[in-house]
Symmetry: D2
Subunit: 165 residues, 4 copies
């Protein structure tokens, strides 16, 4: 995969470079293991499986700073994915462990960007890099919020504070 | 339920034998194809995939007799699965086509039983037999209904009538 | 759901009763959390999701006694699911934690039965009971083995020994 | 790759604009319906579901021009996804029908780009736009091919010819 690697090195790789200086240096780590139901006919993790793993890592990252995702939903605020970009660098085989590393970029308005690096526990093998953008939506009206509701702002302020620790 | 017990004791054939005489002879047919995301590391359809296919076949069977599942939900009536039994006879490989054949047994009270046979289009290869039991639930209260609401009864009468044509 | 509960109490509940006396008293515990991707339009865990959770619990149970599932596959021995029965007692909502408890019944010939109870961490709420039967298959020939290969027998003897500790 | 970068900077339209002039005007159409298992707690299609739908549309598009995906795999050539970008414009609710429209951009070397537009049958509502890049890989060696094997080149020539009809 050396060719792939070269490509990666040359690429803009929007998912992992050029973080703004306000970004936290903190990466949340969420380990996963490739179970049979994650794999496809090639014996490796099916490319769509990573979308689920990244969602789990987001939810657990929020929990780690005291934000229960189910509580956000109960507040009437949903955070649907509006953009997603993924680069697949190397496959994960049945039985292997990987670590989904993620960090939230500082929320600007109602958009929240998350960066992802999925690699081996020893960080020697890079599997996936990705970026996911969420938007805060008023669940009842199904509309993107121009301004976040006060209670959700509190939550995001909490998130932001935790990011800049 | 005693019938269910007997069937279980008689396995391996519980999923496909002993249909009561009141059962419709009509089987709804829903063709599927094994796509890459359906497969696992063995190159065959992952055993959990069939659960999704059987759900799709149920929904499309209902649609074929004029019942939109989403409308049922809007009526406040949900039909969650309360029991599921599946026997895997033969694997389906990447790219193969199969036919999910299903029929609804006559609804008794709030329980609705569905039988399944998944086989090849020429019916020469049997892949899966299964049985799924749904219960009508009042969505708001999260309770199993002792009696179906009138509008849902109308729907099920329609279903029943279609079964006994 | 009291009605449902009564039903459960009356039922044969093939999935959880009448274990043979040779069965281990040891239950392996595998905690799971209901993430957004596990849920369906009702806000609860989709019924097919449990199939994946039960597979994960099986694989991790084997790992806990020193058997790597990927190694079994490399030995040329696969353990496909040939039978599956599930009873859904109560729903799991977004964000909730559950514990998948499983134990393997003593392997008889080439069949291995697993029992499952999925309940709340405090064991007060029962969500799912299930039974899954695996068969040892010679991967190259795609045939069910009449007798297990020697190296796989060693593995299963190890499993059996661990069960009867 | 710099083109990819530019596209990203120009978002939100990267997925559907600036097709090169050599691109076919032909869009393959693959209708889908939002079934219960596709939805999440919000009652809409979970964002990862689209990855599966896009894969199905790719496989069926290839089949429509006489290329069986399973045959490609048998030839020793796999086409894993190496890049994926998705924009979610509007949600699809339980029971709704959508059309996955896709076209392949002319294959350059071993990379094949697919564009996607997922919208309503009447084309009035846009749900998702996306772009997926595949790379031809020698399955045995797990390496990206510098040059495609002759038999696979034949297949891709066939694809290319069909594109430029």
């Amino acid at each position: 995969m050396s060719e792939e690697k070269q490509n990666n090195n040359q690429l803009p790789t929007s998912a992992i470079t050029n973080q703004s200086s306000s970004t936290s240096e903190y990466w949340f780590e969420y380990p996963v293991r490739a179970q049979p139901h994650h794999t496809d006919y090639l014996g490796v993790v099916w490319h769509g499986t990573y979308i689920a793993w990244m969602e789990e890592a987001r939810v657990e990252c929020l929990r780690s700073i005291g934000v229960e995702y189910a509580d956000l939903v109960a507040l009437g605020c949903d955070l649907p994915v509006v953009e997603l970009s993924v680069r697949y660098h190397r496959s994960i085989h049945l039985g292997m462990v990987a670590v989904v590393r993620t960090r939230m970029l500082e929320a600007s308005g109602v958009r929240i960007d998350w960066e992802y690096v999925i690699d081996s526990p020893d960080r020697q093998d890079l599997y996936v890099t990705a970026k996911v953008t969420l938007v805060a939506v008023d669940r009842e009206r199904g509309k993107i919020l121009r301004q976040l509701p006060a209670n959700v702002q509190d939550v995001l302020a909490k998130i932001s504070a935790s990011l800049n620790k």
